[in-house]
């Protein structure tokens, strides 16, 4: 399989075999080597504020419960009873003092301990070693400024090292304002007949599709009062933004105008006032570049493998794989806690207009992703290639920013890095074989490679 994987992707020329979107075998290996190895997003601390608050999610296809502990820490467990394997929790979220299995009534406390066994004396004569039958914990759970991640692999780098340079951009949402960040509202869940990598690559780097695929949505929002904001990505504007990669597999697209994230708002006034009023605070906290240029701009951040957050546009999304040809897409709205309620309300309202389940933009993407997946399934098509070779070899370092950077939002620089990271993980037997590269460790050869 490893040799095979080596042939499937060539990130130097920007080529991928379509079989990576269709093969069942490759998918199984992804579950093991990518989802079983990487740090995966679990929950935002704002979603489970109190002890006993829990949130159900997936790590790959494994069903997990993430629970706030009495001491305020967060733990995660497989959502599966150690007795017969039944799901112990079937609600999406809530607050619980215990999780009790429907089948035989074994109950588990929020710290995962087996706390109750019906008829323990009658049936087990008190001989059951409870300590051995707690819920199976996710061995590593860590938080970065509100974002909680979990990882199955004992040999993985720390979350801090895993994120590496991308924290520079994450902080633009997580740490711009003193109050920190939050996710708003319920989870919007949708089934999409696409391989999980296609939506990731779409948002991690594909500025190219915007003007075409979303022409209808653009036409509709252009009837709004844009108050003269430059979107910067409906044409090729090499000065308007950056494609940043080379950060341990994480990618960022960023406009540099400090306001374009709110370009699609019918009435951007309240948010512009908020930006204006707090601009200096953010510059003081994050410096001139991030405070003036990035905060408020459209920024797409992709945390490898399946998390994407877009401060500015304010949507936050996780893709859960469900087989090679299907995902569940979970979306929330993002906000800063310092935002006035009216601004938060506006964010929610505009999310449902643009990137919610029935959003004007979102409605354009689903069918493209689905068809790309389906068109890779045929015996002949699966042997064919697809290309991410736009603007090859035009990247480098840029003052004030981390990463290997290509100019503008329309290039395929980030996608190449995404598939390269995918290949590195798929070929590595263990974490030790997965290269680490942040800007400072990027060799010349690697820079050229990109």
């Amino acid at each position: 399989m490893n040799d095979n994987i080596a042939d499937l992707v060539d990130s130097r020329t920007g080529r991928q075999s379509r079989s990576i979107y269709a093969s069942e075998d490759i998918y199984r290996q992804e579950l093991e080597r990518i989802f079983g190895r990487c740090w995966l997003f679990l929950v935002h601390t704002s979603q489970i504020p109190k002890p006993g608050d829990y949130f159900r999610t997936f790590m790959g296809e494994d069903d997990v419960i993430v629970i706030r502990q009495k001491d305020g820490s967060i733990k995660a467990f497989l959502n599966s009873c150690t007795h017969r394997g039944n799901r112990v929790c079937r609600a999406d979220r809530g607050n619980a003092r215990a999780f009790t299995c429907n089948y035989h009534g074994w109950s588990f406390s929020p710290d995962g301990a087996l706390s109750g066994v019906p008829l323990e004396n009658e049936a087990y004569f008190g001989e059951l070693d409870r300590a051995k039958f707690g819920l199976i914990p996710v061995p590593k759970v860590a938080e970065y400024k509100g974002l909680v991640f979990g990882c199955w692999d004992a040999n993985s780098p720390s979350l801090d090292d895993y994120l590496g340079d991308v924290k520079f951009f994450l902080d633009v949402w997580l740490d711009a304002m003193p109050g920190g960040s939050a996710l708003l509202g319920e989870t919007q869940k949708m089934v999409l007949g696409t391989n999980w990598k296609l939506p990731v690559e779409n948002v991690c780097g594909d500025g190219y599709h915007l003007g075409w695929a979303h022409a209808g949505a653009m036409a509709a929002v252009q009837s709004m009062d844009l108050t003269g904001l430059s979107v910067g990505n409906s044409g090729v504007d090499l000065d308007g933004g950056l494609s940043v990669a080379g950060m341990n597999g994480h990618m960022v697209l960023s406009a540099l105008d400090g306001v374009s994230g709110y370009a699609f708002y019918p009435d951007p006034k309240p948010i512009l006032e908020y930006l204006e009023a707090n601009r200096q605070t953010v510059i003081d906290r994050l410096g001139e570049v991030r405070g003036r240029q990035v905060w408020g701009a459209q920024v797409n951040i992709t945390i490898f493998p399946n998390l994407q957050l877009l401060p500015g546009l304010n949507w936050f999304r996780v893709y859960h794989p469900k087989g090679p040809g299907q995902i569940e897409q979970w979306t929330w709205a993002m906000a800063e806690n310092d935002m006035p309620e009216a601004v938060k309300a506006q964010i929610l309202e505009n999310q449902c207009l643009t990137f919610g389940l029935a959003g004007l933009f979102d409605n354009d993407d689903g069918d493209n992703l689905t068809a790309c997946t389906e068109q890779s399934r045929g015996w002949r098509t699966a042997q064919m290639d697809v290309y991410t070779n736009m603007a090859l070899g035009r990247s480098g370092k840029r003052e004030g920013f981390p990463g290997d950077i290509a100019a503008g939002l329309v290039s395929e620089h980030n996608q190449r890095y995404f598939y390269r990271r995918w290949q590195e993980h798929m070929m590595a037997e263990t974490w030790a074989e997965v290269p680490t590269y942040n800007i400072n460790s990027l060799t010349e050869q690697e820079a050229e490679h990109a």
Partner: protein
């Protein structure tokens, strides 16, 4: 018959340690293991196919499945019963699309090949188009299974010509089976019709639940117990006088209080009926069995039949892939019961263990989640706990089989998975150990019903 597969030959013993009391979850979700089960278990076991009362007259038939193979079960003019593949030897089309009925011929829709109820090819559409020598009618009938046999109304069949006799297969479990099949003069019958439903669960979860899992009843079915018994919860279990008994992978868990299942049926008239015949039952079956009948109890016949003595539901878990089965539900009653008692039993079963029943509704949810949660690659490698009551085996004067004291136990489940492992690892069934060695020899009450024959 020997089945050879080209696929992998894993060491199945690494999926469980029954002395320690654990199972690997992959046996509930892995597609390769499932394929192997179809060959090694379903193609080689004696499988329940019908109750004789479902096809009383010559030409009566029903269709069912043995593993995933579709078969026809048909009553012959001489009263015997044949079981054959429901597939035309010409192009493989199904030849019978009905669930049940009466016929003289099974005629294929495609080219009109016609077979009698024994499966013999009798003719076809435009027969003249075959030249002499093109076709040998004798060798192009519906493929009969290797053996058919019946025990007190229950008809079993097997694809395996080397299978031991049905008597040996059931072994001393017949001592227990007689409690439902022979507790009254006249034997048993099925109520007309069959209710079928589909669950996204592995077939073994249903079987193991009925074979020994009294433990789930008080919890899973708290709501069902309370609704059927005027708000009272599941009755306390007398761990001294209740048992698990396992024979060759079949199992029966039971109390000896005589009323528990009858109470949960929620039909006082049925309870009265059994109490009335109980003295006679004691004469037929002996004191011990007349005390067991009607108690809190459940049972399974290896590999895929289950029933509740007293509650009278009788069911089969038909495998449809590693993560799906089709559940067929019937009601079994004594032939000599008056009509109004039969009606009470039928209504009681459908109110408790039909798809809309107060008990059944909670089971499916559990089995589905036990199965589907194993989609996760991390989850499916975790073990499950099957150790309950592991040290409570006893010798009992009256009760045959491997007997454990105490109804809350995983003993029968361990017995079932031991048999599963035996079949998965033995190429020759003859070399498979009896578990345990027969204790009763020829069970005195065993008798043959007309229609018994073997090919």
């Amino acid at each position: 018959m020997r089945f050879e597969r080209i696929g992998r030959e894993p060491d199945y013993s690494r999926y469980m340690d029954l002395k320690e009391g654990w199972l690997d979850r992959r046996i509930f979700s892995d597609a390769d293991i499932y394929e192997e089960e179809l060959y090694r278990i379903f193609a080689r076991s004696w499988l329940f196919v019908a109750h004789e009362s479902q096809i009383p007259s010559s030409g009566d038939f029903l269709t069912t499945h043995m593993g995933e193979d579709a078969v026809i079960v048909a009553r012959q003019p001489d009263g015997s019963i044949r079981v054959m593949l429901n597939s035309c030897p010409h192009r493989g089309n199904k030849v019978c699309f009905a669930d049940a009925g009466n016929t003289r011929r099974f005629v294929c829709n495609y080219h009109g090949w016609a077979f009698d109820t024994a499966g013999d090819l009798k003719g076809m559409h435009e027969e003249y188009c075959y030249d002499n020598g093109d076709i040998d009618f004798k060798n192009h009938g519906l493929k009969n299974v290797a053996k058919v046999s019946s025990y007190k109304g229950l008809v079993f069949a097997t694809f395996n010509g080397d299978a031991p006799s049905l008597e040996a297969w059931l072994g001393d479990f017949r001592w227990y089976l007689d409690m439902i099949l022979d507790n009254e003069e006249g034997g048993t019958e099925f109520i007309g019709g069959c209710i079928k439903s589909v669950m996204s669960a592995n077939w073994k979860f249903g079987v193991e639940n009925f074979i020994g899992d009294a433990y789930h009843a008080g919890w899973t079915h708290d709501s069902g117990c309370r609704s059927m018994n005027d708000g009272m919860p599941f009755p306390p279990i007398d761990m001294e006088n209740s048992y698990h008994a396992s024979v060759n992978g079949h199992g029966w868990e039971f109390g000896t209080e005589g009323v528990g299942d009858l109470v949960l049926l929620g039909r006082p008239k049925v309870m009265d009926y059994y109490n009335k015949i109980r003295p006679k039952m004691a004469e037929r079956l002996g004191e011990m069995r007349s005390k067991i009948f009607g108690s809190v109890a459940s049972a399974s016949i290896f590999p895929n039949v289950s029933f509740l003595p007293g509650i009278s539901t009788f069911r089969q878990w038909q495998p449809k892939g590693p993560m799906q089965f089709e559940l067929k539900t019937w009601v079994i009653v004594n032939k000599n019961m008056p009509d109004d008692i039969k009606e009470e039993v039928t209504k009681g079963v459908m109110q408790t263990f039909g798809p809309g029943g107060t008990f059944e509704m909670d089971d499916g949810e559990n089995w589905e989640n036990c199965t589907t949660v194993n989609r996760g690659v991390v989850t499916r490698h975790e073990r499950l706990h099957y150790r309950c009551g592991i040290g409570r085996q006893i010798e009992h004067d009256t009760l045959p089989g491997i007997v454990y004291r105490g109804q809350y136990n995983d003993a029968n489940q361990r017995g079932f998975y031991q048999r599963w492992l035996d079949m998965m690892t033995h190429d020759e069934l003859g070399k498979m150990p009896a578990r345990p060695e027969p204790q009763l020899g020829n069970v005195a009450e065993t008798r043959d019903l007309p229609g018994l024959f073997a090919l």
